[in-house]
Symmetry: C2
Subunit: 416 residues, 2 copies
Amino acid sequence: MARIVMKFGGTSVGDLDRIRRVARLVASEAKQGNEVAVVVSAMSGETNRLVAMADDLSADSKLGGSIDDEYDAIVASGEQVTTGLLAIALRRLGITARSWQGWQLPLTTDGAHAVARIADINTDEISPSLSDGTVGVVAGFQGISPTGRIATLGRGGSDTSAVALAVALKADRCDIYTDVDGIYTTDPRIVPEARRLNRIAFEEMLELASLGAKVLQTRSVELAMNNNLPIRVLTSFTEDASENPGTLVCHEDETMEERVVSGVAYSRDEARITLMRLSDEPGIVARVCRAMAEANIIVDMIVQGRSAKKDVANLTFTVGKRDLDKAITALNNSREMIGFEGLKHDGNVCKVSIVGIGMRSHTGVAQTMFEALAERNINVQVIATSEIKISVLIDAEYTELAVRALHNAFNLAEAS
Amino acid sequence: MARIVMKFGGTSVGDLDRIRRVARLVASEAKQGNEVAVVVSAMSGETNRLVAMADDLSADSKLGGSIDDEYDAIVASGEQVTTGLLAIALRRLGITARSWQGWQLPLTTDGAHAVARIADINTDEISPSLSDGTVGVVAGFQGISPTGRIATLGRGGSDTSAVALAVALKADRCDIYTDVDGIYTTDPRIVPEARRLNRIAFEEMLELASLGAKVLQTRSVELAMNNNLPIRVLTSFTEDASENPGTLVCHEDETMEERVVSGVAYSRDEARITLMRLSDEPGIVARVCRAMAEANIIVDMIVQGRSAKKDVANLTFTVGKRDLDKAITALNNSREMIGFEGLKHDGNVCKVSIVGIGMRSHTGVAQTMFEALAERNINVQVIATSEIKISVLIDAEYTELAVRALHNAFNLAEAS
């Protein structure tokens, strides 16, 4: 007997038949004697419908300040509906179940509306209820602010709700059911022979998530890693457990170490900025970073290049594509403080990365990567590395070519 | 400056343009310096959509017992959405506003899911917030159970929420905005010359509501009467206050006493049962009523008639039309205990009533009523009276004829 948290996203509960299927998956775990809490998202499409109404009413509003608190009250209703519907579907199968809203646990957040972070999950009521054999159906994505208002965790927050709840409940594992059957070596839409991984280390998953793989939310992986909680990613579209092994995200083990590279990720959400003819003096990078931080913009890859002229450098870095205009304005406003002569930018770029904990102990990985790219004449604009990943910024039109080349260069289609 | 509770039903907030109009009505009261709490229903159609999903999932379920607690969690989301949307629309007009869910006040109920009764409304937080000039947008129809679950007040419960909130907030009045512009002397679809009343006494409104007039919920009128809180019924479909006087429901005053009859109500939701050849002995009515009470059926009009045979009586009474089958079964099961020989029933009947507090001090009202019906050859099957009303049960096909005859006989089209 184990204590399990199961999480189902919007697509998995997208209509009543899918909710019935989810109920059967949950019932199957419960009937094996497990204590089960289920975290659910809003039915797919529902959050967008609610946001559209809120946006329509607030359009062009400069008057009333932020409306994020009311936006939260509106969209949180989506998860509320799913919890009730799934509880009913479970009772229909003879399973004792009840719904839990964020405020009923309560799940307390820092109160930053629309992007709240979880501060605490009180399990005083739900934990004994699970032990009594009642399946708890918990609304994901939502909690309360310190003043008792509804606060949501932002898009994708249901993953984090599920992992945080599993940690708080001291669950044995957290099963994230989604519309894919696991974590792949890369995007199968680009590389058809991409392979589902049986296991992946937390650190790798964390890099993959932050580098563009969209299956799990970064925050949820971080939380699981810090609490050594295994996450299983699997599909909700089959009811046959034997055909649905999924991918286990856990601490690295010996099997994994045999693998040098586990996956290839890519992100098209990047934009490149180059500041030209900066004076090549200490503190120049700090000044650029300060200008970006003050504008609330995250700087990702960053590289300093010497220009032909002595004591003068160029600085190239990347920001999120949707922050590009804001970044250019902020830089131009700080032109004198930073001291640069020219600014170039390019939104038509892509970041391609290889990730693998095996890179720690293997040499030659970078060489293999850059040779594979060079063979296809793919020009690398910026490079960024960490202990377990190498990322390159390239022209966006080479994205698929680069991903296929790297997937092939590291033999990712073959089981390790 | 006054403290006002405004209530808007589902039709009044049925789409975003209507929500904008409601926001303008609320803003107008707030800008006059009034402290305003607004109670809202779910957008029209929304509750039905949610109930349909819950019904679909629970269909034919005999396994899991009651699902009313989850039904409540699901449908309460409808009001939640409206509160957020209206708060946004108000901010758009420069009005400070925030939403309040039932659990945030909290509004505590007895916990009878789907048909909960309000036990208490805590105003410790909302009352100072209103005094600070923040419009409070409160979700109608919902509260929490003693164990902290969501509990709804049943259909039409938003009127009761509004009146109870107004009482708890010590408001000066409660304005119920709806899709009609006041209380009429009778249904204008039957009598085109029916007239809007400027004022009506609580007692009259209570009788009209329970006799079939659907504008206000009986419980809300009762609550307002017991707390001497004036209710104004007016339309949300005009923004010109001078053209929207509505009807004030309040304690009787001198103007009203000049009126003998205030309105004619009718209800087609009745069914008649006649038990034949009962032994004419004390306690026979009590035995019939006990059989009905045990089946949870409310007996309304009741009349005992002597049959031709000595010591034998007939007993005729009415029940709600939807309870008819259940009543017949219960009576047949108690046939020996009650002791009757035959049972006749008729679902094709209508209860037509005249209501007026002036009847207390005027004679001849009954005579005028029965003469008007007799002139049209309308056969009266059962009669029920109270201090301020007379109801008759007639064949349903005479409904419109009877309503028009009575409206005319008491000159209700003319202003008193």
